[in-house]
Structure formats: C-alpha cells, structure tokens
Amino acid sequence: MAKRKSVDRQDAYAKITGKAKYVNDLFFPGMLYVQTVRIPVAHARIKKIDGTEALQLNGVVGVFTAQDVPGINQRPKDRPVLAAHETKYAGDGVAIVVAETKEQAILGAKLVRIDFEELPYVMNPEDALKEGAPILHGETNFAASHQAIKGNVEAGFVEADLIIEREYTTQRAMHSAIEPDGAIAIPEANGILLYCPGKGPFNIKRAVASHCGLHENQVRVIQPALGGVFGGKDSDINVIGARVTMAAMLTNRPCKMIWSREEVLEEGTKRHPFKLHYKVGAKRDGKITAMEINGLADVGAYLTKSAATVWRATVEATGPYNIENIFTRIEGAFTNNTVSDAVRGFGSPQVDFASESLMNELAKELGLDPLKIRRINGFTEGSITATGQKLECVNLMACLDKLEETFPVNKKPSDVPVGKVRGRGISCIFRGEAMGAGFKEKDAAAVNFNVEKDGTIVVYSGITEQGQGGSNVVLQIISETMGVNIENIKMSPLDTAYVIDSGATVGSRGTITSGNAALVAANDAKMRIATVLAEMWKVNPEMIIFLDNRVFIEDQTHCLSFKDAVNLCYTVIPGVYGHGWWSLPPVWWDFDSNSGETYASFNYGACGAEVEIDLVSGKVEVTEVVAIHDVGRIINEEEAKAQIAGGVSMALGLALSETIATKNGRLVTTNFDKYLLQTIMDSPNITAIPLEAQPANNPLGVKGVSESSTATVSPAVFNAIENALGIRLRNLPADLESVLAAIETSERLGYLKGGGIHE
C-alpha cells in the first residue's frame, strides 16, 4: 500500500486562532453559577448542613444537598453526586451553592455552615487492609482483585538457576488537561441539554439521567471543543454534569460549573498508585522460568473503574515475555485519598515500569545485555500470554530491531560535561487494544454520513475529538475511499441527539473502531452511487473508479465530477449516504479459570532513553528519547508522531517530577506550582517512530498508540539512571532527593570514582 499523505487537521485552525468554543466560553441568558461545598478533612460524618446564611447573601438562589438529588445519588461504593452522610476524602462535595454570579457562588459556598465529626482516616492501601483500619465501604477496604495463573509457578522457580525479588512503587499523578472540567445544563421543554467536554458523551448522558431521575432520552449532551482528556473528563464530568443538571432542574435556569485548577486537584480523579512485588526465576542463559507478581493499587475513596484498571494491569503485568509459569495477583484497596480512575495508560504504565525495571535487574544479575534478555524471552508470533491467549500479529521483535538500529544501548555517551554522568536505558512493552474482555458489550463504533447536493460529505461520528486527531482519521478514510478531497468532508459537532453511541473514546480504540467504521460507511456509499451509475453507463458497478473528486471508468468513456455524480443519483434514488458499523473481533474472560482472550489485538513498543545526571544536585536531564510503536498501519504519520511525542512528554513527568502529595489527609499539592509538569525547557530530543510491521487483524490494519506511548518511558529512564550510577531506583518519580541519595551510595561504593561510571 502506498504511503499515506499526512493531512492537516480540520479542527486546528479554530483552535490556534482562538475561535474554537470551549465550555467555559459559552454563556446563556439567565445562567446561574454553581459552586461545590466541601469539608476540608479526609473522612467525616456529616451532622448538619445549614445554608441559611449563604441564602441571605445577595445573588444566592439556592443551596442544595444530597437530599435534593433528584435521582440515584450514589451506587454502592461509587461516587455520589453529593455525599449524604459521610465524606470519604477531602474532595467530596457535600452541597452546591447556586448564584447569579460565580463570585457570589464562591462566597456563598464559604457561608454554608457544616456541622461535622472528623473520623479516623487511612491514606495507605496496605494500612487500609489491616485489621482495625477505618472502613470506607461495607465490611472491608478490599475493592477489587484479579489473578492470572499459568503453569506451575513453584515448579518454575525450582527450575531456575537464579531467583530475584524486587519491589517497585508508582506515584499518584494526574491528567493535567489544560482545560479544567466543567459543564452547563440548560432546562428544556422535556429534559436537559448539557454542554460538557467528555470522552464518552453517551456515558455522561446515562450517568446524569440516572443521578437526576430522568429518562436517558431526556438528557441531550452536546460536546463543545475539548481542551484535553488524557483519560480524565470521565467520572469527574459525570459528577459535575449531575450537579449542574440538578441545579438546572431545581432552579429552572441554565446552570454552569467550571472547576478551578485547585478543585481539579482536590476532587478530580488521579492515576492509581501501585506497589508491585516481583519474584522472577531464570536460567543462566537468560530464559525466564517463572514469575510471581503481587500488587496492590490505591483505589482512593470510591470504586469508579478500578476493577477494570486492576484487570488490565493483571493481564499485562509480566511484560511481553514468554513465561511458562506465572502467578499474578493484583488487588485494589480503598483509602481516603482522591479517587483513582482512568489516566492515559489505565494501569499499564504502572506494571510496565515495574516489569521493565525488573528485566534490567535480571539482566544485570545474569551478566546479560538488556536487549538480549528481551530478545531471549520476548513474544513472537503465536506466543501464549499469562492468560492463555495465543498472540497474532506480534511485532515486538520488529520494535526491538528498530530500537537496536536507532538507539544502540551500549553506545558510550560522548562529551559528558564535568560534574555529570550519562547513562542509557531501554524498555519494551505489549499492550491490549481497546476495551477488551473486561467489558461485556461489543466493542463497536458507527460512522454515518450524508452526501449533500453540492458534493459535501457531512459526517457523524461518536468518537470524540479530544486533541488526538481522531476526527481527522475518520475524514481521511472517507476521503481516501470516496476519492473526495478532505476539504469537502465535514465533521459534525458531537451531539447525542443525532450521533450514534459509539462508546467512549478510551483505551486507544478511536482509530481502530471509528476508522474501520468509516471504511464500511464509505464503501456503503460508494456502492450506492456506483449502482446508479453502472445502470446508466451499462457497466459493472465494480468497474467504477472514485478518484480525485471524479467518478469514472478506466477508459474515461464515462466520467463525471463527484458532485455531478451525486446530483445524478438524487434523480434516481432518494438519498446518497453511507452507513457503517464496525466492531472488534470477540473477546472473552473466564473469571473462574482466570484466563481468556483478553484483547482482540495487542500493540508493541520499545523505547530508549539517555539521561545526564548532575552529580551536585541529583537533577536528571533526559537528553534523548527514541520511542518506537507498532501502530499496524499508519493513517497520518505526522499525527502518529505527535501522539507518540505527546505520550513521551507526559510520561517524562511521571518519571521525573510529577507527584500528588498529602499530609494529614489533605493535599499538599494544590496547584501547578507544586505539581511539576515537564516544560518545553525540560524536553529531550524525542524521536517518535510509528512502526509499520505486520498489519493488525482489522480491515485498515491499524492499532492504537495513545496510551502505549506513555508506558515505555519511565522504565527506560530508570534503567538509564541505573546505567549511569550503578544504583537502582525503584520508586517513581526520580526526584532530586532520591537521585542524590543514589549518587551518594554510588560514590561510597566507588562506582563514580573519576567522575563517572563510564570513565
């Protein structure tokens, strides 16, 4: 297949010129502002909420609590719209104040008097599972667990020449979308119109309807431009959507709530911190004989999607390796921390950090090259995963070949400045695509379009444009298939009133599902047009070619512009349209045997990172990252590279600087001054390589890339730090303090004599 052209994005112009409208840009006549009231402790019993004083404030229209929630406030263990009797973390909302202006709403929220009793709290999942710990839900703080068992792990360890055990931890981190979460609800004749950014408009509609006692067909969600998602704008948006909807229902006026950045930190969901204990056995030649993994995830105050996150982590915990004997058990526990939920990678970056650090530790113990140990054990075509799934379209070795070519890991870093040391590290991963067997529904998406009489194709797709270029993928596939310029194809705004539910834009499933659905739709329309023309031209429909905005047969005896062809069709058939549904091949999971076909396909990736460490401060500078990702087939190379580079830069924050800290049950990290994202000044040279090896098992041959690109970087960086200092760090992130401690140990052990391990 010829290499595709990279096509500019249709949404780019509006975004870079400031013309795109985000939810906070929208105003409606009579609109009120909603502010959440919280209790500033980790765990509390609510005794009384008194809004009298707030209601006396000029402009305050209403003060509402859990009692006013019109529908189901809370499902067991899940987040309430407003906490009724007990708050389980300092971010829990207990009341909302609705006022004429935002300032009045904020001031009003301060005047709501809450009588509460502070309860004991637990911030550490290990403590949470101990006898006597304060319980958040039901009888125990146990939230979820999954296992993957293969072979006989005891026997596998007996076979091993070497066994090592290591423990790794990952931190609480967040999405940091540039746009904070928010929503506007407008009361309509028979229901609510909700404007809100979110990755699953139909999920929002369902959640809000349930919370507010409405039928699903009484909630309509329109999606404004989205200012970044990264796995968020999910559970948080459901809660915000429900709060503004109840406010709109109770006041009968449009109601708006936009979280401040502090509120995003305080109430918003975060990435699950994991503690992972690995035991691995291997033969002298490097072949792994057994792996035992026990993990514990901090679920935070409510369940949300933690069971699915833990499940994915369990499936992928061994890394992309052929191991006969595996025991993996990962558990999640409730704590009084902020709620853990989906963040780009959904459990993968945590286990990938651990398993890829472990591979280097094992290689070091065995005296093997880190690349070689991966080649010895890595998945190849037909390999069987921890859950007993036979793999197809396995491109791990192609990724490793590319890594060896573009990032020779043993290359001695040159020109190391005085007072610094450099090191190089690698990693590789496999990652399940799309929803997987953790979810029951078919993993499907629809793309529809209508061809108008001026030749314009108007497209409807349920996959959200959240910055990733997902809409353009759909347009591009239609453009290629129909032979129509992309300028003549327009994506309609996402509105649940007329777009088909295509599931949420999560799990790196956007391109696989909607790209293939677009192909089905385009072929559908093509056949419809071709049938009409074939009849007139007295040819076989298959002979008709769609190219360069023309419709013709090869010898050019018949040729029409696309527009004329469409208009001709309108004289013969009632409509010119394309309709396409597509779903991933079926998957299944058996919870009794802990095995199954977990994901319809997997993508593979490899990463190389070089670091330069300042021996005075412990500051780690990542100087180079090579990120290789098996994308099956590339739809838009520039977009794919940008997606990978974006994932790398997000992952560098995870590796080096981002962390949410708490003290006495309250957040210390309350804004971006303390939550340290990487800036452009910290950015390394990133070489993003979307790799085309074997295509995937779908008509377009595509695989997802978004989340994988965040999963490979932190282990590569940590392996590079080890390479530079000779000391292993096992806890994310590699901050100044931990790296300096490693430098001190390294100096004490004599590794750094003469200014660097390489000299």
């Binding site: 005075v616 412990g618 500051k619 001054d673 990487q678 000044m681 303090e737 300096l740 401690a741």
Partner: protein, 293 residues
Amino acid sequence: MSNYFFQPKYLKQALEYKRDYEVANLLAGGTDLVISMRSRADQKHEIIDLSKITELKTIELDGDAICIGSMVTFTELIDSEMLFDKVPFLSKAAQSVGAPQIRNRGTIGGNICNASPAADGIPPLVCLGAQVNLQSVDENNEIHNRTLPIEAFILNKGKTAIKNYEILTHILFNVPSETATMGFDKIGRRNALAISRLNGACMIKMEQQIVQQIRFVLGAATSKPERFSGVEDYLIGKELTVLILKEAGRLASDYVLEKTGRRSSSNYKLPVITSFTEELIKKTLKAEVKVNE
C-alpha cells in the same frame, strides 16, 4: 476585592498615594501579589500599580555606578547589553527566573520586596553590595530618600525594612573591578518555572592564583540570601585547591546547619550545599575575565 486601584504615571503621585493609603499593596508586576490576592480573596486593600511610572524603568551607567529602576523587568535586565557586559551573573540570574511570561511581568524591585529566600534576582545584588533607595513623601510634600544595603534591607523570609509609606525606587551598585569574575547558579526541580531549591552567586578577584577578594552568597539555604562570611574569610589569601574548596563547601554547609537546625530537607540540602559551593566557586573562576576595550 480592593477598594481602590491607583495607576499613577509619576513617582511623586505614587508616593502620595502610598502616604495616604499606607496599607495599600504596591503592584510591581504582580507575579507574587496577584497569586497571594487570589488565595486570600477576602482581604481588601488598595492597590497602587507602579507599571506606568517610566522613572522607575531605567537602567543607567554613570561612571562607575549602575542604577536600576525598581520596575525594570527581568526581561529588560536580560536584554541590557551593558548589564551583560558589566555584571553577567545578574543577567544569568534574571534569565533563570520562572518563564518568559513571568520575566516579562516580574520586576527586580518586586523580587527584592517580596523577600523570598529563594529569589533568583537577589544573590547577585547581595554579592555586588547593592544598595536600595527608598523614597517617601511627607505631609508637606517633601521627598525623603534613604538608602540601605540590600543585605540589611531584607530582614527575613518575606520581611523587609521598608516602611509602610515608602516605595523602593532603585537599586545602586558599583561596577565590579575588571579583573573580578562572577558566577550564578541554581538548582530547580525543572528547567523553567522552578522555584530554586538552592541558588547562589559568587564574585572573585584573584591575583597570582591567590584569592584577593571574594563574595559568596547562597539563597534558599537560610531565611534570606546572605553572604557567607565564614566561607569568604576562609578563602581570602588562599590558593583554590581541591581540598580548600572542599573545606569551603563544608563551612557553607555547617553554617546553614547552625542557622536552620536540622530539618526534613537537610538530608538533601546539606550535602548539596557542600558540593554546590565548590562547583559555584569553580565555575566562577572559569568565567571569562572581561578584556579591556
């Protein structure tokens, strides 16, 4: 929020407002003030915005004396070729502040009056022995000036010797000797928008491998950026060998421990102060000596 927002065009006007509204906040860029106003939204104070007063925005060289207006932004400090030529470590310190947006708004006077121990603009000025000029106007419209060494002006974390009715108008210092070399360095958690974990400035005059004069300042180590006279006294008259530098580092670290006591951050800070001190002095020695034109 505030009751009144004043935006005078002349210093005299500003001084009058400050005289009449002593608790008024001076807006000198706003990169600290606006943030603290947001977190203490219930406090109502007048604001006097100094950004339109051109008298406070000059950088002047008069003979051997340099005078910098308090409302000169970090970007303007960086862009001044004269400053880069005469006091390159001040340019470097200004360059290390925040990010372009903050450097475009933040001013040297604001940086000094905010008196953060981690302020990046202050250590070079302390090294230079800079003086700050404080002006006020009395009921009879008479202007008063007083000048204080910057080290005496900054009392403690967030505290200065400024009076409620005064405005810091400019910073004065003499051009260092042409044989002096200068250095500034900083440790932050990232390469932009980083509050210094530690910073420092150093100025050295050597003669035949022997230290004639040295001024050595660390910031974010104690409650304010200050000269480490123990280090300076130790090094004067010495040749800067590896051992001597190590001892200087140890002295710096001991001094900080003595001043601050042991803290949770000490495990990191104390060893870093030792090696940072050594490295900063080394880097300062290697800095180019300006060639006479």
